[in-house]
């Protein structure tokens, strides 16, 4: 059903807000700051506005309404207490240009969040600047470059990236002016050590490692991997996308990782995907501290102040990062505490393994060993049936589809991450539905090919959409 734009339901004179009484002396704005033309905003009553957004929200799939096992995205429930904290007027009424002494509480919160992430990850320092995961990753690669250049080590221009990596990894390297060399996985889903050894030399910037990797598997040779890369003079970049499998149990800094970003919107339950904004702090070991993006909050006696690291790669975000998001992550960490964070991780891994065994009977798991927080099945379970068909059919049963066709090294990949917040009943229901879909795939494959059937729009023609895109809301 077509949803009218706000401009289309606008009617002169209607309004959805009433301004509070003025509590400061009235003053004229200087004439140079006055607008010359009308703003042309829609005029709408509160009720029409509420209905518009409620209808839009109901067209959306969200973790507040359905199970959302989107692998590699950690679609955990975002506790509502985060929103309570973020709505406190003492935070919402502050401004980043206020003098530091008037926002000590905000700075203290940022400092304590830096400290918490340092402790969770085992790093010497953390910058809260980057605005999203890939942004933090790019900042991390720039830190690696700045480190090598500061030592006069100018020939390092080649980054090593496993074939199971997230696509953002090579993108960050390309943006930093590096070439990329792909390292294959072995038959257990780990990095092929011989290939890594052969690739390491005096041009190696470092290795970008996701651990657990995108197959949901812990890199069993992580210490050996770190040694090989470090011996060649390279650094290890840790992709923090999968921290939800280690938080409170193992620390990336202890495993030999030198620099890593954190997806607060995945691991620490802040707004996610199109519902962002995101936040991707970046943490470093001692020798990389001088190069961090800044400013960073420092504690000076009893007060807090913003400081720029000596050889910083610079500011990578306006003001001080996405503060409202930092506030939610801080709330999450403080509400759970040390034991709670560890329990969240343990439950995430337990849920994934429970589902791996159940789902594996229907959709075989490519690397079938004990997984971490997610696993990768294969969806070509009957003649003519593809992963995409299963994904679309799941929507009819009220589940958000898992990640499909990623990682690229698994044929017909179906990547499933239940997270710690789902109950056994939900996991069982999901596995049962997959079994039912498998039965349909054998007996009535057309039902899958034409799915979904219960949504407002049925299967989209992705080929036509890509080849002949219509970029206007109304054609």
């Amino acid at each position: 059903m077509y949803e009218s734009l706000l401009f289309e339901i606008s009617s002169p004179g209607r309004t959805a807000c009433s301004l509070p009484d003025l509590d400061v002396p009235e003053a004229e704005l200087p004439s140079e700051f006055l607008r010359q033309e009308a703003v042309n905003l829609p005029e709408i009553s509160e009720l029409d506005l509420v209905r518009h957004y409620v209808r839009l929200s109901q067209k959306n799939y969200s973790v507040d309404s359905v199970f959302y096992p989107l692998g590699s995205c950690t679609m955990k429930y975002n506790p509502k207490v985060n929103e309570v904290a973020a709505a406190m007027p003492k935070f919402t009424a502050t401004h980043p240009l206020q003098p530091e002494e008037t926002v000590q509480g905000n700075l203290q919160l940022m400092y304590e969040l830096q400290e918490a992430i340092k402790e969770i990850a085992g790093f010497a320092d953390v910058s809260l600047q980057p605005a999203a995961g890939a942004h933090g990753e790019f900042a991390g690669v720039l830190i690696m470059r700045a480190y090598h250049l500061s030592r006069g080590d100018t020939q390092r221009n080649n980054m090593l990236i496993p074939d199971s990596a997230h696509g953002t990894n090579p993108a960050s390297c390309a943006m930093s002016g590096f070439s990329v060399q792909q390292i294959p996985s072995d038959e257990r889903g780990n990095i092929d050590l011989d290939a890594l050894r052969a690739a390491c030399n005096e041009t190696t910037v470092g290795l970008m490692l996701t651990n657990p990797n995108t197959l949901g598997l812990f890199e069993e040779n992580i210490e050996e991997i770190a040694k090989i890369v470090h011996d060649a003079g390279g650094l290890i970049y840790g992709d923090g996308a999968n921290l939800n499998a280690m938080m409170g149990v193992a620390r990336p800094g202890d495993l030999g990782i030198d620099v890593m970003h954190f997806n607060l919107h995945k691991t620490f339950s802040t707004p996610h995907g199109g519902g962002g904004p995101g936040s991707g702090p970046v943490g470093v070991v001692e020798k990389l501290r001088p190069f961090q993006p800044g400013p960073i909050v420092a504690k000076d006696g009893d007060s807090y102040t913003l400081k720029m690291p000596e050889q910083s790669i610079g500011a990578v975000k306006s003001f001080w990062g996405n503060f409202g998001v930092l506030l939610r992550a801080y709330t999450y960490i403080r509400m759970l505490g040390e034991d709670g964070l560890r329990l969240a991780t343990e439950d995430a891994v337990l849920n994934a393994n429970y589902l791996r065994v159940k789902v594996g009977k229907t959709c075989p798991v490519k690397y079938d060993r004990v997984c971490m927080h997610e696993f990768v099945s294969m969806g070509d379970i009957a003649e003519g049936i593809h992963t995409m068909d299963i994904a679309k059919r799941l929507i009819d049963y009220g589940f958000h589809p898992p990640t499909v066709y990623f990682p690229l090294i698994v044929h017909e990949a179906l990547m499933i991450e239940p997270t710690e917040t789902e109950s056994k009943e939900t996991l069982d229901a999901f596995a049962d539905v997959l079994e039912k879909i498998a039965e349909e795939a054998r007996e009535n494959p057309e039902l899958l090919h034409s799915a979904p059937h219960t949504t407002e729009v049925s299967r989209l023609d992705e080929v036509v959409a890509a080849r002949k895109p219509v970029l206007r809301y109304k054609a």
Partner: protein, 127 residues
């Protein structure tokens, strides 16, 4: 699966065929089938000199984007501009209308025999 008996192949599924002094390059029927519907092709600029094994372009389907690698070293003398508007010919005719580039080879004697013939390529896919 369609095959071109006269072409040579490499692991990453590009084919290369002699056409006079030039080498024509495309991707195999197996490759286009695995990628599914191709929606975008990025090609090099004419006069670019690219070494064997280096990336010369990108092919993007609704499922994935893949780099394409030079089967032989050489200079790009012609690119298939038609693919910009009709990338689907890579799906329908991978060994014919769906070619990507024509290369003036610079090290053909050393490189040509290192490519797979059709039997070796089929064995590599099935293996």
């Amino acid at each position: 699966m369609k095959l071109d008996q006269d072409a040579k192949y490499q692991d990453s599924h590009e084919w290369a065929r002699k056409e006079g002094d030039l080498i024509v390059v495309g991707i195999s029927d197996h490759a286009q089938d695995s990628l599914s519907d191709i929606v975008y092709v990025e090609l090099p600029v004419i006069d670019d000199e690219i070494d064997k094994g280096d990336v010369f372009g990108v092919v993007e389907s609704v499922k994935a984007a893949s780099d394409m690698y030079m089967p032989v070293s050489g200079e790009i003398v012609e690119v298939n501009d038609a693919l910009e508007d009709t990338p689907e010919v890579v799906n329908s005719d991978p060994f014919g209308e769906g070619w990507f580039i024509k290369v003036k080879p610079t090290n053909l004697d050393a490189e040509w025999d290192n490519l797979m013939d059709v039997d070796a390529y089929v064995a590599s896919i099935e293996g």
